[in-house]
Each structure stands twice: as C-alpha cells, then as structure tokens.
Symmetry: C2
Subunit: 457 residues, 2 copies
C-alpha cells in the first residue's frame, strides 16, 4: 500500500492540479458551467479508479457527484463527504500566482481550493485508488458524495439526503474539511461552530445627493448603517448586544474547558501569523475558547457611496453590509437570524428603508470524542504521523455535519489535513504537499481499522 | 443685445454641448488628457469671440485658462471665475443617457457638468460674445479665469492667484456655480459652507481571514471602522461628537435667522423631491438652517471585505471610509480636520493600524448683501426674471470664494443659475435650457450695471 502511494505521488498531485484548474466558484452564476464540468470530470475519475455507479445528480443548483463500492458484506459502511466548489478568488490583485493555475512553491501548492476542499477531499479518492489497485477491494463499504454548493450553504444537499436516505445510510461519515492543530500536530475536530449570515441594505434618498446641498437634513444611509451595526457589538467587552443573542448558549463543561486549556498556545506566534497587533474579544475567555466555543458577530462586507480615488462629496442613496454570526450549542441559525433582523428593524430610523436578507446558515455541532470511529481515525493519524493526536473544536462551520446527524442519524469523523496558514477564503490559498501525501496513508489505514472490531492500539 | 441673444440660442447651445462632450473628470488620472484638451478648446473659443490674450497656463495639476478685455479705462474690472472640470460620472449604470453625450429632454439638457459648472460658466462667455459682437466693446473691464481642478479642491488656484496678483486684481469676482432658490425664483447666494474632507483607513490582519477560524479573537477592521464612525455623530440629536467641533461656530444673528425663516419651504415638496421618508438632523433648527448654516458630518464612501453576490465568510484585512464635514463661520477646515484626526486616533483600538488622510478643504464664507455688486446682480436678475430676488445661504462649498477674499481682497457675486433638481454630483445631472438662455441676458445686463455709478433701481 505504502509502496503504491509512494510510487504515485506525482500522478496524484497532477490529478489534483487538474481539478484545481477548474474555477468552480459556486456563488458566481457565471461559473455555473465550470462547476458542472468539474462534476463530470470527477464522476469520470471515480469510475476510472474502480468505484461503481459513479453518477452526476442534477439539482436545482449545482450537481452532486456520487459513487460506491459495496462488496464488503460484513464490514461497516463509510460515507465519504467532500465538496468540489470553491470560494470566489477576489481580491484577485492580491494573488501572487493565478488562483486557478496551481503552482508549487517550496512544499506548498498554491490555488483556490488547494486546501478547502479539493485538496483535502481528493486525499480519500487517492486512498481508495490505492486499495483498489493493490488489493482489488476495499476493507469496508464506501459511498462517496461530493457536492458543489458547500460555499453557498449546501441548499440542495439536505433535500438530496432526504430523498436518498437508503443509499446514504452508513455507519459513519468521513469528512476532511478542517485544519490540524498545527504542523505535525494532527487532530480530530470534535466541535464546530454554526453560522447565521445576513445582508443589510439601507436606502435613503432616491439618488446620490450633493452632501453640501442636502447635508444636515437628508438621511445618510452610510452613516445610519455604521450606527446600526455599531449597536450590535460592544468591542470593548466583546459582548454581542443583539437582544436574546446568548439565551441558548451553553457554557463549556469543566472537562471541555480543560481539554481546550491543554492545547499548546503562543500568543506571539498567533498574532504574528496573521499580522495583528493584539487579539480582541471577550477577555474572560482564552483565545482557543473565543475562536472555537464562543459565538461571534462580524461584518464581512461593507459598501456605500464613493469608493474611487480622490474626493467625491456625495451623500449616498444607499449603503449595505454583509454580517455573520458564528454560533455555538444550542444556538439556532434561523432564530439567531430572526433576532438580528428584529433588532436591526427596531433600531432603524424612520427616515430610511431597511431591508435584511437572510443567507444560508448552519447549526453548531459537538461530537463524542470517545466514539469508535473517532478513536480509529486518531489511531491512523498516530501511526502515520508518529505523534499524539489532539481533539479540538473549530471555529468554522460545516453545517452539513449537523444535517448528517439529523437526517442519517450518524456522527461524522472530521479528519482534517489543513493548516491554519492555508489561507482558506483568502488570496494565495495553499496546501501542504507533505500532508497531502501523508493524508492518503492515514485515509487508507482508517478504512482498514474501520473493518476491525475495535482499535488495535 | 436681446436680438443677438435670441438669434444665437442654437449656436450657444451647440457650443455648450461641444464642451460637455469632453469627460474632463479632474479626480481621475486617466482623464488628464481630456482636461488638457478642453482647456485648449476653451482658450480657442475665448479668442474667437474677441477676448484678448487667451492663454492656457500649465500648473502642477490641470491647466488654468485665462483671457481678458481691458479697454474700459474708467469702468470697474470684473473677474469672471468658472471651472471646466467635472465630478466623476459613476455610478454609470444609473444614467439614463450617456453622461458625456449631452441630451435634450423636454426643457432640460442632460450631461455631467451641464449645470456644475460648464453650463453655468458658459453663460457669461455667451454674454461677452453678445456684447463684443453687437457693440464691439464691453461695458466694463473683464478678466476671465477658468480652472480645471475645482472638484478636487483647486490645489493650484491659490498659488496662481498669488503669483498673478497684478493680473487678477479686480473690483469684484463674478461666479455662477450655485443654485437659484427655485424655478423662476432667482437668488443671490450670500453665504457658503466650508468643507473638511478626509479618508480613514483601518488595517487589521495582513490578509483576509476565514471568519470562522479567527472570528472572536482577530480584530475586524470593518466592525471597528463602523464603531469609530458611529462615535462621531449622535444621529438622534444631530450633534457631532468630535471634541471641540463646535468651538468656533458662530450662531446666526437674529437678522440672518429671520432672512432664512422668510424663505418659502414645503416639507412635503422637499422630502418628495429627494425621495426620503423624513428629514433628519438638529430638531431645534429649520431645514434651511440645517443645510445652509449648520455644520455637518457625513460618510461619503464606505468599503471593506466582500461586496459581491452571495455570501463570503471573510474577516476583512482592511476597511475604509471617506468622510466630510461642512463648516460654517468661523470653523477652519484644517483645524477641523485635525480635530477629527485626533479623535479617530484617540478612539482607535490598539489591535489595528489606523491612518487618516486629509483631502482638500475650504473655508466657509458670508457676504454683505447690501454691497453694490450684489445689489446690481439682483437688479439684473429682476429685470430679466421680472420677480423679486432672494438672498440665500447655500450648504455647498466653493472654497475659492474665501481665497479670492483673502488673496485679492474682494468679495464675490454668486449669481447662480442652477436649480436644486439639477442633480449635481449625481447621475443624470441636468440644466434648465430656459435658465441657460435667460442667464446670458442677466449676465450682459449685470456688466452694464457695473459700469454705472449706482443701482438704477
């Protein structure tokens, strides 16, 4: 197995590069053709490595690709989930290499989606190929499900799961769309934050006005937007001021707190890695707690009036913002979005028209780290990386983890191969080639362990 | 004279259209060639109508065009000032006709600069042409000065005035760059607000971050920008909260207040004209006072993070805003800018880097409405429009009016031919053709009255 994987490093990397070249940006209507083309390419690839019934399923949005290998009657069934869509690449001018021309520099591969999630999910495809090529079988039953809408909130995945419950039935879901705790510090993610994402539009005058002629009497949507958003969070205490926001928040148990406090942390490394002067947020929580186990309020986008060079004395007709809130158990994305919406409308001055649009959301999730699949994943990591495995909580959201639990009744194993420095959603996203290579063996070993009765460790 | 002006309506309109076709946007470096070309075109035109020494003066920025006619030894000298540069046309998609293809619809001419200030300043050129064509002389000495940098704060005009004090010497400056009180309600502007215009840049992480991975601990420049700007004004009371902001503000005298209160005003017409639900600002002042005689704080532009379609969960690396403050006597643009800058730095959290850039500013100005030139301008208006003339204060800024006073020691006559509905600085800027035609006669008569000893009224 290892021989095969070693011999196929280059061909696997080349196959990944081919996938990264397709700009499958799910949020941009103009890239719909690229998303479709990549779905078909993946179907063909899954078929070519020996998986059965490789299929591109049409949805009202972007397609879902599935394939299977179900010839291990006494073994459990693993559903491997990944997504082949990516975030937009802008701001384009900040990329040092073209986002859709994967470029190897040192030990990292640069491209949009290199880590999130094309690179990570392709690791399992390589592991399946290695099993089928060397053993002509898989140790467990495997179903693979790749969606093209993760970055826009997976609107068609839950309907697909519900309509295909029988096919989707499994013992565990395997997902690689998270980060390791650090370089050579493999970890299994046992908690994820949820997400509520909204857009606020403020409209005042029917046209942009001269700020000299009307300033002082005409409502300014940009000023009003600033004012409303500033009322959502107290930056001094880090507390979110939306009424009822914390009502459903469960504080960490002492055990969970201790697990987080046990994780290594260097403030200096942390602030330097992202180039900030100092951290912000709730001082009574550690940084690990703030970014993984506490809810947040962030402005993700802001616009209004004149953004060009120089000075334009305009009183803008409208302004807008994208805002998101990360959620923790037991906050609900819909009810949190409703609270935000009600609050904004309650503080909106009568001089302007305010519209709040709810984008996708996702529920927070916490897994039992003592469960059999999670322990087996840790074992596979340990064998390949030759080091202890951390159990962490991540601040990001993978809403479908909660959906798998709800619709299929199973927990997921979050076997992350990314690193925090991968720059997900940022310019110059990259992925460690070494972890791409090693990940294939971790995946292959995990499948083998899943076939046995208990951990052998 | 009137016969000549009537006979040349079409040729004057065509000549104006030719000027409007040149996109002389002074704030955009890519339009520098257009600004230069228009300067040369104007020089040729001034020469062709019989003015002397028509010249394009190079400056470190855009050129200044001058011409003169100085053959009335016993008569006073009028310096006619105008500007041939325009504001940017964006947002382009909101124009119903191309901004640089002047289009006549009903009784209005649509184009960027139609009113501000190409249309208004060309009125005087037509009046001079009429005098020279019919009488082969002007009733007074005339110097004409057209600049190409008014919309970017006239950085090279004051140096020009100072270096050419002898040539610029005059008894009064005539400027048409303001609005009449209303349709068929001619007015002379006797007060203008000043301006301080700044840009705030907030920089946090060195790159855009994933808001899930870092949200809760990494400083968010967009959220912080919102918070800082919201601390500059209390939208409920309309009061500006920058420390010391009102220190130099002189309240209106009772007489000035009464003059403003005497102006007709309909709240319904006002709010409907700009499509707002209700006015905002300081409730203890009338709307006329708020927009002409009270200082303001407005956000003119706002940007940060993701502005595209859909959802992007980015924690932006930076955010920025353009802000401006309208000033009233005796506020000083530089010291007001300094107060804003100090305030922003004093409230900027240590987690981010904040940079405040000062754009151009201008001092507020108030004129004596009983002065001879202003009374003669009112007389000319009255003769042509056959109605009483209002004396108003405008909310906009023409910083060079204060500069003329300071450098040349003379007051200006603000003979506005615009209307509030002209849409200055907005898409679909337009100018009333009827006022363009009548304005030429007002200008011609004003020059005649200036030659006499006192008003004949």
């Amino acid at each position: 197995m290892r021989t095969y994987l070693d011999a196929h490093k280059h061909s696997h990397l080349d196959a990944l590069k081919e996938i990264l070249r397709v700009p499958s940006v799910s949020t941009s209507p103009e890239h719909a053709g690229d998303v479709q083309a990549l779905a078909e390419h993946l179907r063909n690839h899954l078929e070519s490595i020996g998986l059965k019934k490789a299929t591109v399923h049409s949805t009202p949005g972007h397609p879902i690709v599935t394939a299977e290998w179900l010839h291990a009657p006494d073994a459990p069934t693993v559903l491997i989930y990944g997504h082949y869509d990516v975030q937009p690449a802008d701001p384009l001018e900040l990329w040092e290499t073209p986002p859709f021309e994967p470029t190897l520099k040192g030990d990292r591969l640069y491209a949009r989606g290199a880590s999130d999630d094309k690179g990570q999910s392709f690791i399992h495809v390589c592991a399946l190929e290695a099993w089928l090529a060397t053993e002509q079988r898989l140790p467990v039953n495997v179903k693979i499900l790749l969606e093209g809408e993760e970055e826009i909130g997976s609107p068609n995945l839950v309907p697909f799961l519900e309509e295909n419950k029988v096919w989707c039935a499994c013992d565990t879901v395997l997902v690689s769309d998270t980060a390791m705790f650090g370089k050579n510090q493999p970890s299994i993610t046992v908690g994820l934050r949820g997400l509520a994402y909204l857009e606020v539009h403020v409209e005042g005058p029917t046209r942009d006005l001269h700020s000299g002629v009307y300033g002082g009497a005409a409502p300014n949507p940009a000023t009003i937007l600033n004012d409303m958003l500033s009322q959502c969070i107290d930056l001094k205490t880090g507390k979110i001021l939306i009424p009822g926001f914390y009502d459903e928040v469960i504080e960490l148990t002492k055990a969970e707190q201790e697990a987080l406090h046990a994780l290594p942390f260097s403030m200096d490394t942390y602030t330097k890695a992202i180039g900030i002067e100092e951290v912000v947020g709730e001082p009574e929580y550690t940084v690990h707690e703030r970014v993984s186990s506490r809810p947040t309020f962030d402005v993700n986008g802001l616009w209004g009036g004149y953004q060009g060079e120089g000075a334009k004395t305009v009183l803008p007709a409208k302004a807008g913002a994208k805002v998101s809130m990360r959620l923790v158990p037991n906050q609900d994305p819909q009810s949190t979005a409703d609270k935000f919406k009600s609050f904004i409308h309650s503080i909106a001055p009568p001089s302007v028209r305010v519209n709040v649009i709810n984008h996708h959301g996702g529920s927070p999730v916490v897994m039992d780290l003592t469960s059999d699949p999670i322990q087996k994943a840790a074992q596979a990591f340990k064998e390949v990386y030759q080091t202890e495995v951390f159990f962490t909580r991540e601040g990001g959201s993978i809403p479908i983890i909660a959906d798998f639990k709800r619709v299929l009744g199973v927990d997921s194993v979050l076997m992350g191969f990314g690193l925090n420095e991968d720059g997900l959603h940022s310019p110059n996203e990259s992925f460690s080639i070494e972890d791409f290579y090693r990940g294939r063996e971790v995946s292959a070993r995990f499948l083998a362990h899943m076939a046995s009765d208990g951990t052998e460790n």
